[in-house]
Amino acid sequence: MAIGETIRNSQIWKSIFRHPMPLDRRNRIVVMLTNFFLHLHPVSIKKQGIALSFTWCMGGVTFFLFLVETVTGVLLMFYYRPTLEWAYNDILALRDVTSLGILRELHRWGAHAMVITTWLHMYRVFLTGSYKPPREFNWVVGVILLLLTLLLSFTGYLLPWDQLAIWAITVGSNMARATPFLGYEGPGQQLLTIGGIDMITDASDARFGLLGARFVGEETLNRFYVLHCIAIPLAVALLLAIHFWRVRKDGGISGPL
């Protein structure tokens, strides 16, 4: 006890934590206001709003899974090389040789779980009518986050570079070549010609833009790797910040107004 007190009274401890231990009512309030990680929360909250049967915790679980994906993903990036030469072998080694190869399992199952918890979170928000005013815009942000979650999972699906990966992405991205006007098999692309020269070909259409090539190949692997590890996570991080901030600003946690 004495040691604990000495530590908590030391200059180092006090320089890190801007508040005393949250043991009494006053400090439990202060801790929420002065701690960076906690200040996302309000000081007090409707008891009904955090009842498990009401809220299901699915938004929080989704965010936690996003953090799990980020940490395991960064660790996997140290090991995995997104080239035709190495991608499959690196994953194979993660399965068979490498210690802590279980990181890949955590990352993959975490990704599946995140898709499911996102749906369940949306389902709960719908069933409690929590998308209604004043929370309309936050629902819109949430729908974009849903789309980005699916895209994160989709881009990650290619990276193991096995049969499952390339054919799933081939089937999925084949849709893009049927985009109206912008896909070379899509309706209306015949109309986009200049002087008899087709503007939309298999080397200039929406699918080509997605894959970086006419088929799922090395360019696609690089493109999906960057989207998966950098571009989409950054967009998600920004939108998450807005999503959480708007929860606070638009009347706090769900509940009757």
Partner: protein, 441 residues
């Protein structure tokens, strides 16, 4: 394919644990019912059931393949023979409708518990079938099994609260959520919940990762196309729509409309009631629309696309072997063909060779006139017609623009089930088919 002894020996250990888990689950439930609720009768029922599960567990673990509990072969054959896309989709629709209409009965804890046990038991008995197990146990398909149980559980949880609230509102009382406006401090009440939740999710994820290796197939080869080739599971609903529509609609336009429609939802729903608490009666229209889209057009199709679509995207029963040699007759007909050839008994209108572009376009329009008229009537005439009939109240409250967006989104969403029905009944392939523009609908 018959279930071989080797397979059953492999799956027996899993099933032993599975039934033992069910036994413990029901034992605990019986104990709680007896000690906490004093419901001795129900406690006895679940004790007996737990005993039966223990017997099943010991049979599974007996080491004799013949003793592993399974559905009789005749039942499996019958299920395979009966099942098809039509029965599956309509059956799900009927089932969900029954669950909705009689929701007051189904939310009763003992009814829900019975259904859960029935689902688990059916699942366990089915797992003893090699064909069923080989699809369901595919690592990437396991999350969908989880999703089905999670959705069933959370729908039950939400509906049981909605039923209580609807009763209260009918009696002039506020919903339960409004009753309690007590506030608590976030530290400790919320942060501790969050911590426990994080620990639980981490533990669950670790257990999952330890028990189930992530899939890794052969190295990628662009010349070896697997049959069937499937998108990731959460897009299989879209892939299933390809049966009924061309990729431009099923793969591009409809998904975009889903995203747009979801975003538009809070701006279209003018109903001020039901904000922040579970209720069905107060917002029946939006509730049913969402559930129809989510359950029937999204989840049901994902399950169909994952578990029941095999090589060549043919339909296979749950216990059927996925042979690539299954042949299905495709004799679908386009609407112009039905109208000009079958009905009027004359050839399709075709521009004389060498005709100018404009003349050709005219002939195409003539050829597609029946389909274009149908689509025009559906998308242009129906919204105003509905505005003065069925949706009169909506139109008055929403105004022109909001009403038109809502009506068009609804009608476009309904194109999918309508096209399904037309395919099943009339073998209709395309309503409008202009290959000159790659425009088939």
């Amino acid at each position: 394919m018959h279930s071989s002894g080797f397979f059953l020996k492999d799956v027996a250990g899993f099933l032993g644990g599975y039934y033992a888990f069910m036994a413990i689950m029901n034992g605990v439930a019986a104990l709680l019912l007896w000690r906490r609720k004093g419901q001795v009768g129900w406690a006895l029922v679940w004790t007996v059931f737990a005993g039966i599960m223990m017997v099943l567990a010991s049979l599974a673990l007996s080491g004799t393949a013949d003793l592993v509990p399974a559905l009789p072969l005749s039942v499996r054959t019958l299920v395979n023979r009966l099942s098809g896309p039509v029965l599956y989709t309509l059956g799900t629709f009927v089932l969900l409708t029954v669950l909705f209409v009689f929701r007051r009965f189904f939310v009763k804890p003992m009814v829900a518990w019975t259904i859960l046990n029935a689902m688990l038991l059916l699942m366990g008995l089915s797992m003893a079938d090699e064909n069923f197990a080989s699809i369901v146990m595919k690592p990437d398909n396991v999350p969908i099994v989880g999703l089905v149980f999670l959705l069933a559980f959370f729908t039950w949880l939400a509906t049981s609260q909605a039923v209580v609230n609807d009763d209260r509102i009918a009696r002039g009382l506020p919903p339960v959520e409004k009753e309690n406006d007590e506030k608590v401090l976030v530290w400790p009440d919320l942060v501790y919940t969050e911590l426990i939740c994080m620990v639980a999710v981490s533990a669950f994820l670790l257990l999952w990762a330890i028990c189930l290796p992530a899939p890794l197939e052969e190295p990628a080869s662009s010349v070896k196309t697997p049959n069937p080739s499937k998108a990731p599971w959460y897009f299989l609903g879209l892939q299933e729509m390809l049966v009924y529509f061309d990729p431009w609609y099923a793969g591009v336009v409809l998904p975009s409309l889903v995203i747009f429609g979801l975003m538009a939802m809070p701006y279209l729903d003018f109903n001020k009631k039901g904000n922040g608490y579970y209720s069905i009666e107060e917002r029946k229209f939006s509730y049913l629309t969402y559930q129809f889209g989510f359950f029937l057009l999204w989840i049901t199709l994902i399950i169909l696309g994952t578990f029941l679509r095999g090589p060549n995207w043919n339909f296979f029963g749950p216990f059927e072997f996925w042979t690539p040699y299954k042949v299905e007759v495709l004799n679908n007909v386009d609407l112009p063909q039905m109208f000009w050839v079958n009905l009027l008994d004359q050839p399709l209108p075709k521009a004389p060779s060498g005709a100018s572009g404009l003349v050709q376009a005219g002939y195409i329009l003539l050829r597609e006139a029946p389909g274009l008229l149908v689509m025009g009537a559906y998308l242009v005439l129906l919204p105003p017609l509905l505005a003065v009939t069925l949706f009169r109240g909506f139109y008055a409250k929403m105004g022109f623009i909001r009403y038109m967006i809502m009506a068009n989104l609804m009608l476009l969403m309904l194109t999918l089930p309508l096209k399904m029905v037309l395919r099943w009944t009339l073998n209709l392939k395309y309503i409008v088919s202009i290959p000159e523009l790659s425009l088939n609908f």
